[in-house]
Amino acid sequence: MTADIAKGAAVLFVAAILQVTLLSQIDVFHGAPDLVLVTLVGVALLRGTIFGAAAGFGAGLVVDTATLQTLGVTSLLLTIAGYWIGRYGETTGRDRTHAPFVSVAVVTLLYSLGALILHYMLGDPASASRVLVDAFPFELIFNLILTLPVYALCRRLFRPPPSGLEEVQLFG
């Protein structure tokens, strides 16, 4: 468990740093890939609700701190996202091939909506058409492209927990 926490923290920290330094500068019709979100999907799917929520909270703090944004905004969104994806992984989706893609697609939409609402409530200038019409399709495409390699890496780092039925060898 401690190893998982260390690996999760390292992966999400690298993802957050890459996100704020490199990927945020990609701008195709205001859309950019969200490596933190995709990595969080991978980690939360494989390690469940608590791990997902904590990972989301930590990653959000790093992003907000590095970009000097309102502390807690990204944490709140990623905490909820990590929890929801972890729940999906624990109940139905973990072993399905399409689970990471469905999770990324849904969570990208919900994350965009949530960020829009949250920034609106905080009085920040937020254009719904720019976020949901212009940027969202490209952000979704970028995130789906990232899903395959990122989820493959997460599966290598976080082995899926054993299912309930295992072969038992009897001696003697």
Binding site: F13, I17, L18, V20, T21, L22, Q25, I26, T49, I50, A53, A54, G56, F57, G60, L61, V62, D64, T65, A66, L68, T70, L71, G72, V73, S75, L76, T79, I80, Y83, L122
Partner: protein
């Protein structure tokens, strides 16, 4: 656990939002940003070649599309400029004709039809043009054709909606002309020479020639009197020939014609 984290996030947002920029949470964030800065710098340096490569190719794509757009725009502007020049030229030409028609030099007893040239002679030796007006507009064979500058020629073939005009410079065109200054009479041929001018008549270089418009019994010149033809450029004579050798330069520039005025006698 997740609920606690959500509440903690909301608390962070609330405190951060309410406190001043020198508040505790801001200072913590500032310290955190300072800690993160080396990682960001390192990531920036590592990723710079990739970012530069991305920027280079993105710039190429942008430059290519920009180039195509600008080329298309230049082409449209060029077409527009050509159309404007053509319209301005046509406008100036029509103004000249209007001025000529209203001027005192316009021959009395004639109506007019303005007709654009729709076909030019296919070869330099065919000094004829086709205009888009014919018998339906009242044009008949041998009607004189003019512009604001002077005499152009005569109609040599008429169809319902088009006519063929032999220019003054055509070899077959001969026009009775008179020297405005000396009243010397002669015949302008092919728009280049003023023939049949006796040695006893006086013609000087620079004199202006106009149509003579003669009448003899029942016969009359097809050209009305007083239409400018050209200016004398050289005068000569020798012992052998009966007549002077007079060269002239027509007033009309036949290379830039775009539309013509066909004169139609009112009493026809």
């Amino acid at each position: 656990m997740a609920g606690v984290l959500v509440l903690l996030s909301i608390a962070l947002i609330t405190i951060y939002f309410r406190e001043s920029s020198g508040g505790g949470l801001h200072q913590v964030q500032s310290a955190g940003a300072t800690v993160l800065r080396p990682f960001e710098v390192a990531a920036d340096r590592v990723s710079r070649p990739f970012r530069d490569a991305y920027g280079y190719f993105a710039g190429l794509v942008h430059a290519k599309s920009e180039n195509n757009r600008l080329r298309s725009e230049v082409e449209k502007l060029r077409q527009s400029a050509t159309l404007n020049l053509s319209a301005a030229s046509e406008n100036a030409d029509l103004r000249k004709k209007l001025h000529f028609v209203k001027s005192s030099s316009y021959p009395k007893g004639y109506d007019y039809v303005t007709a654009p040239i729709i076909a030019q002679p296919p070869a330099a030796f065919e000094q004829q043009v086709t205009v888009s007006a014919g018998s339906s507009s009242g044009i008949r064979l041998f009607d004189p054709v003019v512009t604001g500058e002077g005499l152009v020629g005569t109609v040599v073939r008429v169809a319902h909606n088009i006519s063929l005009v032999a220019l003054l410079t055509d070899d077959t065109t001969s026009v009775s002309a008179i020297d405005v200054n000396t009243r010397a009479l002669g015949v302008v041929k092919a728009g280049a020479s003023f023939d049949h001018v006796g040695k006893d008549q006086q013609v000087d270089q620079g004199d202006e020639l106009v149509t003579a418009g003669w009448k003899a019994g029942g016969l009359a010149s097809i050209y009305p009197r007083g239409i400018p033809i050209g200016r004398v450029t050289s005068v000569g004579q020798n012992e052998v020939d009966l007549y002077k050798h007079v060269q002239l330069q027509p007033f009309v520039n036949f290379k830039t014609l775009s539309s013509l005025v066909v004169l139609i006698p009112k009493n026809r």
